[in-house]
Amino acid sequence: MSGHVKNMCPQLPISQAARTLLSLLLVAAIDSVSAGVVCRKQPCGSSLQISLKLTKLIHKESADLLKTYKVSQGDMSELFCQMSINNVPDPNISGLDPSERMLSIYSHCKAFLPHLKRVTEQQTDLQPPSSSLLSKLSTAQNRTNGLANQINCIYQTLFPNLPIPPEPVDGPTSVPPSQNVFQQKVYGCVVLKRFKEFLSRVTRELRTLKSQVCTRRTTFADTNALS
């Protein structure tokens, strides 16, 4: 380098090797990007632990949400909430091995979201603006979306060779067409009841998954061993 360039940069000279290392570290820190979600590296056990905590929180809130919902619809017998309605996601997690079950959690979260959104829209017309139901519904949606993103990241890191299927646009999870008010009340109850049951299952499932897929040696460097 010529003399005058050196004079312009009198501070710490960063060697070429250091620069390369820095770039590598930055790239490695951002594990993968999917659906616009940037996943950060974390040890397997603590990732699942965080998701488990979030699931427990949403589950606890879902009990209160269902209770608030029922109160604001007026005296309804438990019958309303048990009616069968097509197209509302069932609460069961499917799959035989951990990757399938984790994927099932993810896709169920995604499937519940449009229904939660529809219930929120319907209740916005039915409830007074001051109703706490609306803010609780909104919170549930946000948190569930967050959980789905977390599971997405964990899945990609543990099973990098298994693709995540794209979200269905017009599939069995689409929301029902316009309904009369009574149908809306029943629909909302069924959605929220199943949502609560689903979260209870996710809690159990994440605990199991944690013990199955996260061993002491499982860091992101070793994930190839699992696939």
Binding site: S72, M76, L79, M83, N180, V181, Q183, K185
Partner: protein, 392 residues
């Protein structure tokens, strides 16, 4: 037992989700399709979870049952009352949500104000008793009186109910007509129209930087100083001010009204050595040359100050000065040593126990000062044996 089917699958209620006047009557019908194999005389109705008496039912056909309700009460919840038709085993066949209430009454007390001529906020009160049981929508409308089309206010979210906010594009020096429409499923009502020029209803921010300070050593006076609201600089209006003040522990405010447009004022006739709370507010006057007053601003945040005392504080403080404390201790020690010399067998038995014993003796002697008698003190000599000395 067949599993519970979707509501309205094979069953229909009429009317579906009606809006009804309070006190009116309703006859509803529930018709099941013949394939369900249900007979109407096994069905029953509930309203808000309560079973309705079969005396109110009417058998229309083998698969149709009606119910008649009289003198309906206002809806229990805004999402509607649940009128449900059940099969004999309790399963829900179909449901309808009743909205029972009244049409809205004319909104009243519509008032508007503008902050610094930039915007317009309006508030109103629902007419009558206000509660109509049914969701009522309010729309604030306005138009320029002499020309222009009717426009609607869009921002109802400023925290409080029955308010609306128009943020911009308001004309000055020309009157607006403003009114509120209330509507629900049973009807509409319109408030009276108010006419105003934006410049007639201007308010501004309270003054900032309010400082209250003493006037030298004067015990009955305080000086209040403040800044004029920044927005005034943009407009051709002056301001007039008001001050109010109160004693710290009083709820009665004293108002100073003739402050004019200065930004400082001296309060006199105050009590000495007292804390006062002071607030200032502002009224924009003389907007664009007019002599009309505007609307008073909110009061500024309270500022406090105290008037001086008339005499220096007497030294009646509770805590002894450090030097004093030492002399008390010294005096006590002197008393203790004197007592030890008199009553102890030499000083070799000196211990804190001895000191405690002396203190106990002090207390007792204080109590029995007026008694003629003997004071007994247990005493331990340096030989370790207990002896009792009698003192008179």
């Amino acid at each position: 037992e067949s599993p519970p089917k979707e509501p309205s699958e094979g069953a229909v209620i009429f009317p579906q989700d009606p809006a009804l006047w309070m006190g009116s009557s309703l006859t509803a019908t529930c018709t099941v399709s013949p394939e369900r194999g249900l007979h109407a005389n096994t069905m029953y109705w509930t309203l808000n979870g309560k079973r309705l008496p079969s005396s109110t039912y009417g058998l229309l056909s083998t698969n149709g049952l009606s119910v008649t309700l009289h003198r309906l009460n206002g809806s229990q919840q805004q999402s509607g009352d649940n009128l449900v038709c059940h099969s004999r085993d309790g399963h829900v066949l179909a449901g309808s949500c009743l909205y029972v209430g009244m049409p809205p009454e004319k909104p009243v007390n519509l008032t508007c104000w503008s902050r610094n001529t930039k915007d317009l906020s309006c508030k109103w009160t629902p007419g009558g008793r206000g509660e109509t049981f049914i969701k009522t929508k309010y729309t604030l409308k306005y138009k320029l009186r002499w020309y222009g089309r009717e426009r609607e206010c869009e921002d109802y979210s400023t925290g409080q109910r029955y308010t609306c906010y128009i943020p911009r594009d308001l004309a000055l020096f020309t009157p607006y007509e403003i009114w509120v429409e209330a509507s629900n499923q049973l009807g509409t009502a319109t408030s009276d129209v108010i006419t105003l020029d934006i410049l007639d209803v201007v308010t501004t921010d309270p003054p900032d930087n309010v400082h209250v300070s003493r006037v030298g050593e004067l015990e009955d006076q305080l000086t209040v100083r403040w800044g004029s609201p920044p927005a005034l600089k943009d407009f051709l209006f002056q301001a007039k001010y008001q001050i109010r003040y109160r004693l710290e522990d009083s709820t009665e405010w004293k108002l100073v009204d003739d402050v004019g447009n200065q930004t400082s004022c001296r309060l006199a006739g105050l009590r000495e050595g007292t804390v006062y709370f002071v607030q200032v507010r502002c009224n924009p006057v003389g907007i664009y040359g007019s002599r009309k007053a505007g609307i008073w601003s909110d009061w500024s945040h309270p500022t406090a100050a105290s008037t001086p005392h008339s005499e220096p504080l007497q030294s009646g403080s509770c805590d002894p000065k450090p030097g004093e404390q030492n002399s008390t201790l010294r005096r006590e020690l002197k008393q203790f040593f004197g007592w030890v010399r008199k009553h102890a067998c030499g000083c070799s038995g000196m211990s804190i126990k001895l000191y405690d014993q002396w203190r106990v003796w002090l207390q007792k002697s204080h109590k029995t000062r007026n008694h003629v008698g003997k004071n007994n003190i247990p005493f331990i000599s340096d030989k370790g044996t207990a002896r009792v000395f009698y003192l008179t």
